[in-house]
Symmetry: C2
Subunit: 140 residues, 2 copies
Amino acid sequence: MKLNTKSRYAVMALADMSKFPLDSPVSLRDISLRQSISLLYLEQIFLKLKKNEIVKSVRGSNGGYVLRKDPKNIKLSEIFQAVDQKVKTVGCKKDSKKGCNGKSAKCITHELWDELDLYINNFFENKNLSDLLMTKERRN
Amino acid sequence: MKLNTKSRYAVMALADMSKFPLDSPVSLRDISLRQSISLLYLEQIFLKLKKNEIVKSVRGSNGGYVLRKDPKNIKLSEIFQAVDQKVKTVGCKKDSKKGCNGKSAKCITHELWDELDLYINNFFENKNLSDLLMTKERRN
DNA sequence: TATATACCCGACTAAAATAGTCAAGTATTA
DNA sequence: TAATACTTGACTATTTTAGTCGGGTATATA
Ligand code: FES
Ligand code: FES
């Protein structure tokens, strides 16, 4: 049950962006420095965030990325989906007739994992970027 | 966000056992056949379940494994712990002063993942083996 | 008591996933 | 025109996963 770094960094980077004026572009170089994330890796991540319309890019000098929505309207579930972090705790196909072990029927635990997936997705559905900032501010 | 097969099979196998009289030993061979799980792999898994006192073993002919408790008193969290499936979505140490990125402080998202871990653990704390059987029976 | 059954245990390995890096761009602004 | 910063696909080392293998030991029953 681990999160991959891609989704972790995606949330981290977007949370970082949220702390700055939302209309002026933030460069990946700055995020990289502030959050200690490889610039080259960030580029890869932001390409996906851009394709999924979470950010838009501003090229050229003084360019960077800009959030397309207010942080409180960006749910973590969107971010995860954008970077292909699926909450799918088992590999068996939803519609396939075959179960996880190659047998014909769904296995004895199938419903349990379905329920778990829903449960976890629910967490990400109910969290947005600004939630993140608030908990941080409360402490500082 | 995937579950490893070890924990998945562990739950599967124990659920299988729960369907039979709780005092007579169930052999891994039978579980292997019924649930289509490699026997050799099951042995590895049950060694851990035994060490963690979830099952006890009965050696020799007609031997097998026996649940040490009533299925409704075996929480999924115990099973997961036994097979080292930790719900620890990020790698940063709880007590360490260093954050996930090698910096000195906890990162901007640390609290979020802590909360997620608690949330998921809660699911496993509140599910036991007999819950699993019931949902299955309702359908058949 | 022989034999089959079934647990015991450490070591090993192929394959897949992860976490990046690299090279070679293009667009924009100062 | 120089510098900044996004764009894109391919490549790779490392780690993790999902098992297998070999050689045991204990017990029941024929
Ligand atoms: S059939 Fe879906 S988890 Fe086993
Ligand atoms: S410091 Fe713990 S997740 Fe980053």
